[in-house]
């Protein structure tokens, strides 16, 4: 018999950013509903914002920006491949969410009149709202979870979703990561909010956990959605970031830009017009490195003492506060030196680029009863505020779906099969250590998938990933902690295969460096102005197909369409 841990109406998997919001909003929508928030770590300090965030990157605030302008900006930044309805739904709810967070006690920067002090970082519009005291974000969310009486279950990881006979959601199968026991949570609807696939490529330091994203975000939700039969989209539009070399955290041109900091080459010169992260910007970064003008740096040493003090306060207390002691160890002072940067390993993340689980404007995936929000849900460039807004949509949609529904009958066969897979490594007294399998897998990701993308390399990568798949049942776990890591290796491998297949499918180049295919260097709108979807087909194979782009609801004019392709600063000839 199955070990049934709980029976709930709404199960939210992942308690970082979108998850707590989804749980609170599901509870507010239907206070009678039983809502459970499941978290692999502890909700107090989990996810991408475990130490808070230094600002909103995409605030659509009346008087500074309109939803229409924002939809245009993201359409252009994401090279045309957007379902504008989803971006519009975000943009129209962005301001209400900021006010909601403000009323909960989140401190945003305001001017002397009490208005939000928005700054310009993007190529076209003005959307960045600093939060110099943003380190308290998780505390604010935790208070709301307690207030609305959401049931919190920490230190559990979902390993597969449970489906009913029709392929709709029936719950999740989970591992207690402290005890190493397996069980089932029956649920009428599920919200996936497990964050990015941030442990995909291997950081150039070779340190498995030296990733940009919180390394607990191993792509769990991408794999959970895939195995449940959901469509994923834009997986070939990787996340690749310009980061502090070795430290592998954000250099934070968004924070420093409005104060006068900028990305510079080894001569200290600007070479890109705009520091907002896009594939087009990353391609110019790559060219500068390859063209002999590297390394690339974040330049602050020309700024006034007072300005640098402010920047240090923001960057060394929020999001990745250990960066201060990293610089100290390298004897770097912003006043006298530039911060060396590099190009990160690849990941999947719609919060920054566009790779994610396909959702509509209500956060619904293509699987009945399954909703998704945050970095893993495909709403391009959605960032933290997008996670909150889609968390709200997902929570409300999931509460509505669950209302008046009965639990689906349990499919014991699915549970037995999954139990055997999950507990297998504990029973292998003699086998492969998960950390070694992970290291090899992620090194192959770098070797074969890091752009520029080359067909033959990606094909070899697929062979290597298949060999690793054959190794997975031979992993051995000495304790529940190692078992959690072993299950994460399964997720990482799934994401690696998805990344390779989606990249091979789209035979053109788009999104600058994110999908730069050497054999197909040009953008080809005639054949590829469409979404590239990926799902498990009826034969159980990973398959790709096209999904047409819905007609735009905000038209672009010709001049705007090209804005993000004009990143490089063109020098005036012969300045005397």
């Amino acid at each position: 018999m199955s070990n049934i841990i709980a029976e709930v109406d709404v199960l939210v998997i992942g308690g970082g950013t979108a998850g707590p919001m989804a749980a609170v909003k599901a509870k507010e929508k239907n206070p009678a509903a039983k809502v459970m928030l499941l978290e692999k770590a502890h909700v107090k300090r989990s996810g991408a914002i475990s130490m808070g965030m230094d600002g909103l990157n995409n605030a659509v605030i009346p008087g500074h920006a309109t939803p229409e302008q924002y939809v245009k900006e993201i359409t252009v930044a994401n090279d045309g491949i957007v379902n504008q309805k989803t971006v519009m739904a975000y943009a129209q709810n962005s301001f209400d969410m900021i006010n909601q967070l403000d009323s909960w006690g989140v401190k945003f920067e305001k001017d002397e009149t009490g208005d939000y002090a928005v700054r310009k970082v993007h190529h076209m519009g003005t959307y960045v709202l600093p939060m110099p005291e943003g380190h308290h974000m998780k505390k604010v969310l935790y208070r709301q979870l307690k207030k609305t009486r959401v049931e919190i279950t920490n230190r559990y990881m979902a390993t597969r979703l449970l489906l009913d006979e029709q392929g709709a959601i029936a719950g999740a199968m989970v591992l207690d990561t402290r005890e190493g026991t397996f069980g089932v949570i029956r649920a009428k609807s599920v919200v996936l909010s497990t964050g990015a696939a941030g442990r995909l490529g291997l950081p150039s330091s070779g340190y498995l956990f030296g990733t940009y994203e919180n390394p607990t975000n191993a792509g769990d939700g991408y794999a959970l959605a895939y195995h449940a039969g959901a469509e994923l989209s834009g997986i070939e539009c990787y996340q690749i970031n310009p980061l502090i070399k070795d430290y592998n955290g954000p250099a934070c041109a968004y924070v420093t830009g409005p104060f006068g900091g900028y990305t510079a080459n080894s001569k200290g010169e600007r070479f890109i017009e705009c520091d907002y992260w896009s594939g087009q910007m990353m391609l110019e970064f790559y060219r500068e490195l390859e063209g002999g003008n590297g390394p690339v740096f974040l330049k602050l040493d020309h700024l006034a003492e007072e300005t640098i003090g402010t920047i240090e306060h923001i960057l060394h207390t929020n999001e990745r506060p250990s960066r201060g002691r990293f610089h100290e160890g390298r004897h770097l002072n912003y006043r006298s030196g530039m911060v060396e940067m590099h190009i990160s390993e690849i990941g999947l993340c719609s919060g920054h680029s566009a790779s994610g689980v396909w959702v509509d404007e209500h956060a619904a995936t293509t699987v009945p009863g399954l909703y998704a929000a945050g970095d893993l849900a495909c709403v391009p460039h959605n960032y933290m505020l997008g996670a909150f807004v889609y968390g709200k949509f997902a929570g409300e949609s999931a509460a509505d779906y669950a209302a008046g529904r009965e639990h689906a009958p349990m499919d014991e066969r699915q549970v037995a099969q999954e139990s055997a897979r999950v507990l297998g490594p504990l029973n292998n007294a003699d086998g492969l250590p998960p950390a070694q399998v992970e290291y090899k897998l992620r090194r192959f990701v770098n070797d074969y998938l890091q752009p520029p993308k080359i067909t033959r390399k990606m094909e070899i990568g697929l062979q290597r990933f298949a060999e690793i798949e054959a190794d997975l049942p031979y992993m051995s776990a000495a304790n529940p902690h190692e078992l959690m890591r072993a299950m994460e290796v399964h997720f990482i491998r799934d994401c690696a295969e998805m990344a390779a297949r989606a990249s091979l499918y789209r035979t053109e180049s788009r999104w600058g460096l994110y999908h730069y295919r050497v054999e197909h260097p040009e953008k080809n709108d005639a054949d590829w102005f469409c979404h590239a979807q990926l799902k498990k087909n009826d034969a159980g194979e990973m398959s790709c197909f096209k999904r047409p782009i819905e007609p735009y609801i905000v038209a672009l004019d010709e001049e705007e369409k090209d804005a993000y392709n004009r990143m490089r600063i063109v020098k005036q000839a012969a300045v005397a």
């Binding site: 770590a41 502890h42 107090k44 300090r45 989990s46 996810g47 475990s50 130490m51 230190r155 990561t177 402290r178 330091s205 070779g206 340190y207 498995l208 956990f209 030296g210 990733t211 919180n214 390394p215 607990t216 070795d246 430290y247 592998n248 990745r320 506060p321 250990s322 002691r325 990293f326 160890g329 390298r330 003699d430 086998g431 492969l432 250590p433 902690h481 959690m484 890591r485």
Partner: protein
């Protein structure tokens, strides 16, 4: 298959004079996103059990007695 153990320097240091784990405190263990810390039951002190650190600092910031210091892992330092 034959196995060996590799020694690694871990980045989280616990000042055992200050640590009050013997009084039942488990704050650092609770807040670590990667679940890397544990309490040594014989000593009644917290320690870093696994070398999988994201140098994110909740353990250091939330410790009620400031007993923890997180260094950047040696490979990145």
């Amino acid at each position: 298959m034959p196995m060996t153990l590799n020694r690694v320097a871990v980045p989280v240091m616990v000042d055992e004079e200050k640590c009050i784990a013997e009084k039942g405190c488990t704050v650092c263990v609770d807040v670590c996103p990667l679940d890397l810390l544990a309490i040594d039951l014989l000593k009644g002190k917290a320690y870093m059990k696994y070398d999988e650190c994201w140098y994110c600092l909740p353990c250091e910031k939330d410790c009620p007695t400031q007993a923890i210091r997180v260094d950047i892992p040696y490979l990145l330092r």
